[in-house]
Symmetry: C3
Subunit: 352 residues, 3 copies
């Protein structure tokens, strides 16, 4: 008998309230940590300098937010989005316990809503809530997302349905306490002098100076994350039916520019953050292909106290990614990524 | 004086009974482990989830069979096949002790036979027996291979010769005992529910759903394995004499599709295996180049008990790799890899 | 307000005597160690075989000189050469304590001289002294370099200036003592038999047999080293003004061929070295682009005793890198790298 096993789920396979405990799980080796942290050009010493991370009370280098997000997200891909057309929105993504090398992350997802497309009979939207936990059961990340998924059978009847409310998963940033005895100022030269809480002014927009061109290395990074979506790495699939796929070519997995935009912004807004707290909403507003050069900017939208932590403040921002597309002789700027991002940022008065 | 050192051996350098203790040796860093395990898309949690591997009685993540094979094989390349035209056959490849991160692997090879080509005066076949051991002297892999090697001097006279028999190297799969107290079923959600011993039916063929396109990253992976064969990474060499080389271009090192086919098959046949036991025979039946998309299928050829392990059974299979080649407007399927593979697979009745 | 932060410094930002304590710092993960050590094809077992490294008295695998150089150099890029046009010369590069996985390297640089170009009003040369230290404060590398840097404002007035002398940083190769009780000869088969001190003859030139083609993977390696120079990875920048940049395309970061030439030479001159002692001078004599195949040769220029170490000798060499460029139908050899290199090499009489 010839067997073609279906991998991943289609729109008609999801029902509201369904819980997926995702397969495999993932131990963060030093190889994975290095590959993903470095390709993004993160400059926060908490992720790169063990002496600094330990001085701050962490027990080792901590994974940058782009790696935490990608680790948890990717574990959910086979069950939720291997047969997706597009990831529509991230929502209420909150960070919890820090992720260290050697940690093992396992992930589960609840189906919150299912909605068939009113215009296109072959697809619809699934709304999910996903959480990742480490080997001690601590939540490291919690988020919702909405994803557009193909039907396996376009004729399948699907009713719109939703849970009365999205399950609440406690997930709050875990940070070591501030202790003056740690003499943080001795290491202040390892970060920029103008990225403390006091330095940000709501209304300002910072154009980050660096850009990075995307190469075919995106495929190795995507595999490294266990992301099995075929539109990122199966050229033959695309060649059979290019008009079905965005851009008619392999598309770069969104977690790659997500991580890259976080990294490109880091020297200007992130190297004195102790952690990212929450991504209120986010979406990929344009596709990325091999050869594109990714840039980023950060708009400061607000500042507020961090409850219980006088040494820190919350900086609210919008992180945008963009690329330039050649139109005849001119280059046109195209937005590719939008993220409402809140960070826990050190106050200079406590640390420098 | 200008010195051009010869690297590797040519057909006339081999004699029957000769023992090569290969140079350098290789410690498995977390970087190597990650790069090679992940590029292959292995989904067996023993290789990816430390919590799961420890629950099963392993002391850490274990290298997937494709990495073990590549580690040992590649250490033998400089001495045996740096000057090879093609690798003809793997034979009786048996797995022994598991390979962990931090292990150091050293390798030796005995020349079993030498046979000049009857039609082509510039080449011949060498038959070898190769073993890899860890730092404790335990054999981790043993195999024979036949490789077609160039002569350095086409006029060299070479007699056909062979050892009376291939040296027998004890090498049997080392597995932790089954212990009911480990409550394996608690982690059963981390693997597929339909890949236990009971699920396989001889005669079935499973077409694995995923494909992966090969990029120039193959060169970094090949270097990472210490494989020094120039046909994988020296474009200038090819450009000097393209008609000498298969396809007239850089050819992807066979260990890359070998590992990839094992990984592509993993979610359908390998994620509930505790290990690969033996590859009876195997060969690369077609070349792979950058841009090819690799697919795999598994034919179930037999099932039998695993002596002394009622919790396991042996599943005998043929793992095939293929790609599609465009011929004018149509795509033609071409086999690239053939491997007779036996796995030690968990019985559902003991584990789920 | 729209803010465009300047990154890196321009010629007018440097003044003689200025000290930069470079930001971030770098812990050598097993991922970084593997990626960089392996891409270079180093064959020294001290960098690859833990059993061998420990037998020699090291506490772990040691970073090859190409990785040490790249680690320290790259930490200085943002402050010194992010806005450089070209790196002109390395000088008096000396190695100190070995670098192990897990070490954290921090770097500082003193500005030794500044000299505006007499012909080109938009650039000039900065002469610097750079040192890297590990977490224990031990110097692991010290070197000077001269780098051609753009002005931010071509009209800026800059005076030629220099320190009366270059600061002297004690930095000498730290090696475990020779102890006969270690029975080194038991492991002599792991290195070549013809690369001991006794084997080298001043005046000889060795053409190393292997070549390696450079792929777009250079960009991931460059990011992994924290090298932020945009000419290696920002295609859009180049496309805006190709005639401004060497070759009119992305240029491969010099540390890549530097490391590669060291590795390509290793089986012929480096696998029985306990360390590189000093690079008297070095420079990139030609550019490297994706698709080029890099080769290397070593000229033996001298031999002498190693003071206090009768088991070792110093071998002085010139390491050259080259590539071939197609000119109509012919291929022309072009030098790309020149390095005066002194190594501490084992004497056969003590080790084999």
């Amino acid at each position: 008998m010839l067997i073609r096993k279906k991998r991943g789920n289609f729109l008609e396979d999801f029902h509201v309230g369904q819980l997926f405990r995702h397969k495999v799980g993932k131990t963060v080796t030093e190889g994975l940590f290095n590959a993903f942290t470095e390709f993004g050009m993160t400059t926060n010493p908490l992720c790169k300098n063990l002496r600094y991370a330990q001085r701050y009370g962490f027990r080792g280098l901590i994974a940058p937010p782009g790696l935490v997000m990608n680790l948890v997200f990717s574990q959910s891909v086979e069950d939720i989005s291997e047969n997706a057309r597009a990831n529509l929105e991230y929502r209420d993504m909150r960070f919890g316990a820090p992720v260290y090398m050697g940690d093992t992350i396992e992930v589960e997802t609840t189906i919150v809503g299912v909605q068939p497309s009113s215009r296109e009979p072959d697809r619809g939207v699934v709304h999910v809530q996903t959480n990742g936990r480490n080997q001690n059961g601590e939540v490291v990340l919690s988020f919702q997302r909405k994803v557009q998924v193909w039907k396996d059978n376009a004729a399948a009847k699907i009713a719109t349905a939703a849970l009365p409310e999205v399950p609440a998963i406690p997930c709050n940033l875990v940070l070591p306490a501030h202790e003056a005895s740690r003499r943080y100022a001795e290491l202040a030269h390892l970060t920029n002098a103008d990225t403390y809480f006091e330095d940000f002014t709501p209304g300002d927009t910072i154009e980050h100076s660096r850009g990075r061109t995307v190469t075919t290395a995106h495929m190795a990074l995507t595999a490294m994350l266990d992301n099995t979506s075929q539109v990122h790495s199966n050229q033959y699939l695309i060649d059979q039916n290019p008009q079905k796929y965005i851009g008619g070519q392999l598309i770069v997995y969104g977690g790659i520019p997500f991580n890259l935009c976080l990294g490109l912004s880091c020297p200007d807004v992130g190297d004195n953050a102790l952690g990212d707290v929450c991504y209120v909403t986010g979406r990929h507003t344009g596709p990325v292909f091999v050869g594109d050069t990714v840039f980023a900017s950060t708009e400061i939208t607000g500042k507020r106290d961090y409850s219980g932590r006088p040494d820190l403040g919350i900086v609210a921002t919008i992180l945008r990614g963009h690329k330039f597309v050649r139109k005849s002789e001119a280059w046109e700027k195209m937005e590719i990524f939008y993220l409402e991002r809140e960070m826990a940022v050190k106050r200079r008065s406590y640390y420098a």
